[in-house]
Amino acid sequence: MFTGFDFDVISRSLPYLWQGMLFSLGLTLLSMLGGILLGTLLALMRLSSFTVLSAPAGGYVNLLRATPLILVIFWFYFLVPIAMKKITGDAYATGIGPFYSALIAFTMFEAAYYCEIIRAGIQSVPRGQGHAAYALGLNYRLAMTKIILPQAFRNMVPILLTQGIILFQDTSLVYVVGLTDFMGAASKVAQRDGRLVEMYLFAALVYFLLCFSASHFVRRLQVRYSTGR
């Protein structure tokens, strides 16, 4: 079955694939960071007792969670250049390049998912902790940053990382706008050399090994975090 295979095409294109992998990893890490920051903000808004804050955050999260990621990527590819023209006032502004457009799309999309994780995390901290903080005279900002969020994030680390693994798999979808992430690089080599079978199987193997070992690591972390508390 593997007799007609040309494994040389893989070793030949390794440097190119490595560039793609760096793109994928960079996009994953940066949008994870941005998504968690924005997601925390959204979660605090959703939990706020002011409707003027909680309603828009809730609407945003529900809208993004109902929309396919591919459509969100298309949306931001279309919206980011328009926004750039508005912001810079330059009618010929050409946008900020494909990487940053993708980064904004993934950050905005993941923020909705991270928001729900973080909201659950904040709600898992016993109410008494917040009351105790207020009783000690801490204001909202101090109670959140010093008491509630540190405990919430400690509980959430495994699930935030799991979402990061899903995000890493999802970055392969930048293929639809022609970017050269790991999958994009693999598919470009596959089509150039007519070696679809080898390249796609190799891509699947690489993704599997990375995601499998990462999720194993998260599972071990989960065991460690769930004990000793």
Binding site: P68, L71, Q169, S172, A190, A204
Partner: protein, 242 residues
């Protein structure tokens, strides 16, 4: 904003752009629902296998779940469409390449179905495992066989417990069906993009597609919540939520 663009005759002749939207919606629903049927059946079998005491049955199900969960859907889509016809026996490969009806559509359905099956399996497994082990022992003590314990004790409870997580998997399948556009299925997202390319009415095209996805989500959520309330075990699980 000018939504009258959807009433204009489409570039291809015959019909309007609205017809493109409707056709896209039809394919999104078809792919998702057929894939869901596969996912539900295969996922249920795998989920049950993962809870059996026999390692011989557990191991293959575990391998399946790990493989299908740890490879991105896009890569799986390409493997079904580009790789599979090359590595199956020659006669079947030739059939897949030349005579298979609607190969994009059926490969997308199979891919999405078997991908989602791994996620359904995990939900079914955790649903069954959340039932106190005493119920299994009680069933066995009353003389039921293991098969009967599953049939009469574990599955009727397990399925009711997993309705909320299965709802979110069912919603995910509609969104994931958009990945089928990469192998050429003209579903909703693909049609929206096509309309934007032909008319330059990008905002309108994407808005309509987004609204349709939100409507699908609403309908599915309401439907599943009704089902959840209907089959709820009194006093066992909390109410269907807010």
């Amino acid at each position: 904003m000018d939504f009258s663009v959807f009433l204009q005759p489409a570039f291809s002749g015959g019909g309007t752009y609205l017809d493109w939207v409707l056709s896209g919606t039809k394919w999104t629903l078809l792919v998702s629902i057929l894939a869901w049927i596969i996912a539900f059946i295969v996922g249920s079998v795998l989920g049950v296998l993962r809870t059996t005491p026999l390692a011989v049955l557990r191991a293959p199900a575990t391998v399946y779940v790990e493989v299908f969960r740890n490879v991105p859907l896009l890569v799986q889509m390409f493997i079904w469409y580009f790789v599979l016809p090359e590595i199956v026996p020659l006669g079947m490969g030739d059939w897949m390449k030349t005579r298979m009806p609607m190969p994009e559509f059926w490969n997308a359905v199979l891919c999405l179905g078997f991908y989602t099956a791994s996620r359904v399996a995990e939900q079914v497994r955790s649903g069954i495992q959340s039932i106190p082990i005493g119920q299994t022992y009680a069933g066995l003590a009353m003389g039921l066989t293991r098969g009967q314990v599953y049939r009469h004790v574990l599955l009727p409870m397990g399925y009711r417990i997993v309705i909320p997580p299965l709802t979110s998997e069912f919603l995910t399948i509609f969104k994931n069906s958009s990945v089928a556009l990469t192998i050429g299925v003209l579903e909703l997202t693909a049609q929206a993009r096509q309309i934007s390319e032909y008319t330059f009415r990008t905002f309108e095209a994407f808005t309509v597609a987004t609204v349709i996805y939100v409507l699908i989500t609403l309908v599915v959520t309401v439907g599943m919540r009704t089902l959840e309330n209907k089959v709820r075990v009194p006093g066992y699980i909390g109410s269907a939520g807010k």
